[in-house]
């Protein structure tokens, strides 16, 4: 088992998982044992092949499902602070306008509309959707819907932002734009971001740390720090440093895949 590597900063721990496993009712061992520490304000990507348990890990952290074993300490949850979650699909309510979709978490917290409107408008402006507050989700493009989903996750000013392959279904250009927008928001707001992806390139571009997971059951196979001094912009995407990190992370991912394959073969 790979020892969890702590963030180089002195920031307190935002998420701590120790020996966490998840076995579904049908007997599928989806995860674990998983050990992971994530520091406050850190941008961490969970990288792995499809079905390796990345999304399960995210849902466990969000409290949407319970672990089968192990301990899970999420500072935001225990202190009663909100957690923001962005799904792979925009997951907007089609019957509500974008403003009402973004307002939803505040409405569920019993905040009167008169009080929440200013906050909703502020966060819509943050994601560049101020002019689309009255539109319905069907009237927006895929990228704009994801922005609305991001605005909804941010409206409660959460300590942690959990993102489950949010840009996987988008075209390359929209994805690049949203990557840049997400980084800008992260720098501005300083949230802890846990980003699930199966894209090596996306994980390297966005993260301070990439956690590579093995195939099912998902465990930490390797961790790669992305400590480039270069700013994360379009120039970084074509830099030698970026290519080097991508190569390292790809190799770690291949090694995780090979190890899982050999393990399955040995068991058979």
């Amino acid at each position: 088992m790979v020892e969890p590597a702590l963030s180089s900063s002195d920031a307190p721990t935002a998420v701590r998982l120790r020996g966490v496993t998840k076995v579904y009712d049908n007997g599928t061992v989806a995860l674990g044992p998983l050990d992971l520490d994530i520091r406050k304000g850190e941008f961490v990507s969970l990288l792995g092949s499809s079905g390796c348990g990345k999304s399960t890990a995210l849902r466990l952290i969000a409290g949407l499902i319970a672990p089968s074993a192990g301990t899970l300490d999420v500072a935001a949850r225990s202190s009663g602070h909100a957690i923001g979650f962005v799904f792979q699909e925009p997951t907007l309510m089609p019957w509500s306008t974008i403003r009402e979709n973004v307002r939803l978490p505040l409405k569920l917290a019993h905040m009167p509309d008169a009080q929440s409107t200013a906050r909703v408008d502020e966060v819509l402006a943050q994601v560049g959707l101020a002019d689309f507050a009255g539109a319905y989700p069907r009237e927006l493009s895929g990228g704009m819907k994801m922005r609305a989903s991001l605005a909804r996750a941010l409206v409660t000013e959460p300590d942690i932002l959990l993102m489950d392959e949010p840009f996987a279904a988008l075209d390359e250009i929209t994805r690049f734009r949203l990557n840049n927008d997400l980084l800008a928001l992260w720098r501005e707001l300083g949230k802890t971001v846990i980003f699930v992806t199966h894209s090596v390139f996306e994980s390297v571009y966005l993260s301070q740390r990439v956690v590579v997971m093995t195939s099912r059951p998902g465990r930490v196979s390797a961790e790669c720090r992305i400590e480039s001094a270069e700013p994360r912009d379009d120039a970084f995407r074509t830099s030698m440093a970026y290519a080097g990190y991508c190569r390292d992370v790809s190799q770690a991912l291949m090694a995780a895949s090979d190890a899982a394959f050999n393990e399955t073969k040995a068991r058979a």
Partner: protein, 278 residues
Amino acid sequence: MKGLEPLPTVDRGSVVPGSDMQWQRIVWPVVVFVAGIVLWDLVVRIGEIPPYLLPGPLLVFKTLIADWPVLSESLGVTLLTALEGFIAAAVGGIALALLFNQSKWLEYSLLPYAIVLQVTPVIAIAPLMLIYLPQQTAVVVCAWIVAFFPVLANTTLGLNSVDRNLAGLFQLYRASRWQVLRYLKLPAALPFILGGLRIAGGLSLIGAVAAEIAAGAAGAGSGLAYRISESSYRLNIPRMFAALLLLSVAGIVIYMLLALVSHGLLRRWHESALRKEK
């Protein structure tokens, strides 16, 4: 906080009405209707069919005008019965589906009996109802029995068809059961509920007519179905056709009214009510 650059505004509401498709939706049924009337008239004239077997369309129309005082009164009675049955079916079906959604125990206990009501022919239940209940109540109950199940089945399906991720989102924000119902399940189920109500509208009319026929056979009743039975006994076939015509028109009007309500509620967001964009 400065945030991101605002996105450029696009003309997002530019839905072009499908004008050529709109008129085709009206013209073609009218063409078929006119062709049917002409064919009917030709068959009667060329075949020299006597009116007590098959009256021509003109005679039916004349009878409709001449007997309008009697037929319109009967139409009012039947429509009121259908409306009462429909309201009872809508309220009862939606309420029971909500209860089923909140308690599986209740669903398992009561659903089989709801299915029994659905599969038992109303024409077989109506005589029993007329024994145990006052006549008008029995007729309304029959209309309710026929119309109730589609509302229950559709609403139950709608309430159970909520997006899994949206349900997870509500869980994440610790929404109460009431909030989940109000802000998620009911809006998500709305297209299904409206679909059920559209079916129930026509069925409540069928239920009312079936019960009226049973009541008429028992020697009472003044709805349109009773007029049809009465005309049949007296071989007044043109009036029978006129009453049938009124029933058909009433059924179409009920369906169109409910379709209009459905369109009004769903037109901004649901695929079924959206026009094709060009």
